[in-house]
């Protein structure tokens, strides 16, 4: 259980995290979603006691991180896989961490096996690939068999096999009853792993809600229809409350109508349909709609990154509960 109340971090005039209040519950994967520079890493650093909040506080299992006696046995974290002394072997790196938290030596071998680094355990980590480094970081996070796990952009630099592995691992850890908090700016990745979402933009918590609710509240489904008589169909479907978008490949996307209605209209007029499917909105759409204003760095649109603050309360049920 991670709980943040009014968590704030300012660097001079810049506010990296602005009054963040949220909680991360055990037993499920909670995604921490936000554009680059939104404050995800800063928030995680404050959870781990690395950065001191300017205001507010955050606790893990009811206690501030810096007061934990054996933190690795309560919280495992992977912030940046490069945070190791490259001159030390993978085994010795983990051994140093294990000793500091009274974790038995055999656990080092166990986690090395778990992440598949046994064969390079005696190699200095400076020669590791990005993916191997990431695995070493995950081994360190799992070392103390902690009840709370945090990963900052864990799939960065991993190959498809590694991505699948970490996805499975995170779900398994959550199923075992642990608190799993994962940040990412990759929507597709989040959609696959997270059941709950904490969305952050420009340092503010925009939403703290279930994945399905989040998408439902911030984007709508539509119907994809393909017909050799698309132009005629489009004419028949047009009407108030409906929006039609032709796809470049000839398909038609219809907003504001159910698949059944479209099928009936086509049948009534003897039009042939080659495809008729309801398309669930993607997390990406929902996210874009919510954070459109909150992205810190807009690409190539002068003036677009104006001071527009995220509209308070925009689809943010549960934030601050």
């Amino acid at each position: 259980m991670i709980e943040a109340r009014g968590l704030t971090k300012r660097y001079g005039d810049t506010t990296a995290v602005d009054g963040a209040t949220f909680s991360v519950a055990p037993g499920r994967v909670t995604g921490f979603l936000g554009p680059n520079g939104a404050g995800k890493t800063t928030t995680m650093r404050m959870i781990l006691g690395l950065d001191r909040p300017t205001a507010g506080e955050v606790t893990v299992g009811g206690r501030r991180y810096r007061t934990l006696g054996a933190p690795l046995r309560e919280v495992g974290a992977l912030l940046d896989a490069r945070n190791v002394h490259g001159g030390r072997t993978a085994y010795n790196h983990l051994l140093c961490l294990a000793k500091s938290n009274a974790i038995p030596r055999r656990r080092v071998d166990e986690v090395l096996d778990l992440v598949g680094l046994r064969s390079v355990a005696k190699k200095r980590s400076k020669g590791f690939s990005l993916g191997m480094g990431q695995r070493l970081g995950i081994a360190a996070a799992l070392l103390g068999d902690p009840g709370v796990l945090m990963f900052d952009e864990p799939v960065n630099g991993l190959d498809p096999e590694g991505i699948l592995w970490i996805r499975t691992l995170m779900r398994r850890l959550a199923r075992e009853g642990r608190t799993v908090f994962v940040s990412s700016h990759l929507m597709s990745e989040m959609a696959l792993t997270a059941e709950h979402l904490v969305v952050i933009g420009r340092g503010r918590i925009l939403a703290d809600t279930g994945m399905a609710e989040f998408i439902g509240a911030n984007a709508t489904s539509h119907v994809l229809v393909r017909s050799p008589q698309a132009a005629e169909l489009a004419r028949l479907l047009a009407g108030p409350g409906r929006r039609l978008e032709p796809d470049p490949d000839g398909a038609l996307r219809v907003y504001g109508a159910r698949a059944a209605e479209i099928g009936d209209v086509a049948a009534d007029h003897g039009l042939r349909l080659h495809e008729l499917a309801t398309v669930q909105p993607s997390l990406e759409e929902a996210f874009m709609r919510l954070t459109g204003e909150a992205v810190q760095y807009h690409a190539g649109v002068p003036g677009a990154a104006g001071p527009a603050a995220p509209a308070p309360g925009t689809g943010a049920p549960g934030a601050g509960a």
């Binding site: 259980m1 909680s23 519950a25 055990p26 037993g27 650093r45 781990l48 006691g49 690395l50 950065d51 001191r52 299992g61 009811g62 991180y65 810096r66 934990l68 006696g69 054996a70 933190p71 690795l72 046995r73 309560e74 919280v75 974290a77 912030l79 940046d80 490069r82 945070n83 190791v84 002394h85 490259g86 001159g87 030390r88 072997t89 010795n92 051994l95 140093c96 961490l97 000793k99 500091s100 938290n101 009274a102 974790i103 038995p104 360190a140 103390g144 068999d145 902690p146 009840g147 709370v148 075992e176 009853g177 642990r178 608190t179 703290d208 549960g318 509960a321």
Partner: protein, 272 residues
């Protein structure tokens, strides 16, 4: 939103004590090659320069002034070697912390040991113990290396001579304090090159600059400059113009303590 209290599986293990952090720091210092190379360099410089200066003294003793001959002690080659060796042992102290800042390891390490004062204390104890033991051994070696050469002109001394044993053991303590001072500087600056340069200025340049001060008050200031105060322990006989051996080392220990205290305070406050 209320959720059930954290129920993650917990490993029942013993309480973490300072000894665990010490043991971790010991593993850290023993598992990087830079420790080995720095200590080896320190040994080579102390023993090698001690032998070289013994050769130089043996060759030029007859041409030395009566005053210089009168103040010559068999410890002198080792004392000169210390000028060059100090910074190397200091470099080890600097690296113990700045290598962690440089690599980012400090973030991982502080997640494991968030009690920062305890973290720095463990580093200090381990570094101090390693350099103390190694320093005493190497100082013995450098003393004997010099005596072998000095013997050709019957300038050699004995471990039993007044003040010699104190100078050797005290020298080891001095080296340990230098390493700890360096650890403090490294913690404050968080940067390897910058810390070694500052250490070099404190131990070397200050001592030279002090020599240019007007003697009316400069003599007093000079005695208290870090390298002069600390170096007093290496003299078997108390020389005029310097502090008494243990007083000098004590003054150096105070400097070290002040820097270390500042380091702890800043280390506690700063974001890692």
């Amino acid at each position: 939103m209320s959720a059930p209290a954290a129920t993650g599986p917990r490993r029942d293990a013993g309480r973490v004590r300072f000894g665990h952090v010490l043991s971790s720091e010991w593993t850290k210092i023993a598992t990087v090659r830079s420790t080995f190379w720095t200590l080896l360099a320190g040994a080579v410089v102390l023993v090698g320069f001690s032998a070289l200066w013994a050769l130089a003294f043996t060759a030029s003793f007859d041409q030395m002034s009566a005053r210089d001959r009168a103040t010559f002690t068999p410890m002198l080659p080792t004392q000169v070697a210390y000028y060059f060796g100090l910074v190397i042992f200091g470099a080890l102290g600097v690296l113990v912390i700045t290598a962690e800042h440089g690599t980012g390891m400090i973030k991982t390490a502080l997640t494991a040991v968030p009690r920062r004062a305890a973290y720095l204390a463990a580093k200090t104890v381990v570094l101090g113990a390693v350099v103390l033991v190694f320093g005493i051994v190497v100082t013995f070696a450098s003393f004997y290396a010099a005596q072998g050469i000095l013997a050709s002109k019957h300038l050699d001394g004995n471990i039993g001579d007044p003040g010699v044993l104190r100078a050797i053991v005290g020298g080891g303590i001095y080296l340990a304090l230098v390493a700890i001072l360096a650890l403090g500087i490294g913690t404050l600056l968080r940067h390897t090159a910058g810390s070694i340069v500052l250490l070099f200025v404190v131990l070397f340049v200050l001592g030279i600059a002090g020599g240019f001060l007007p003697s009316s008050w400069g003599d007093t200031v000079n005695k208290f400059l870090p390298s002069n105060a600390g170096g007093a322990i290496l003299d078997p006989v108390h020389k005029s113009g310097s502090l008494a051996p243990w007083t000098g080392l004590g003054v150096f220990a105070v400097y070290t303590a002040v820097v270390l205290a500042a380091a702890v305070i800043l280390f506690e406050r700063r974001d890692a």
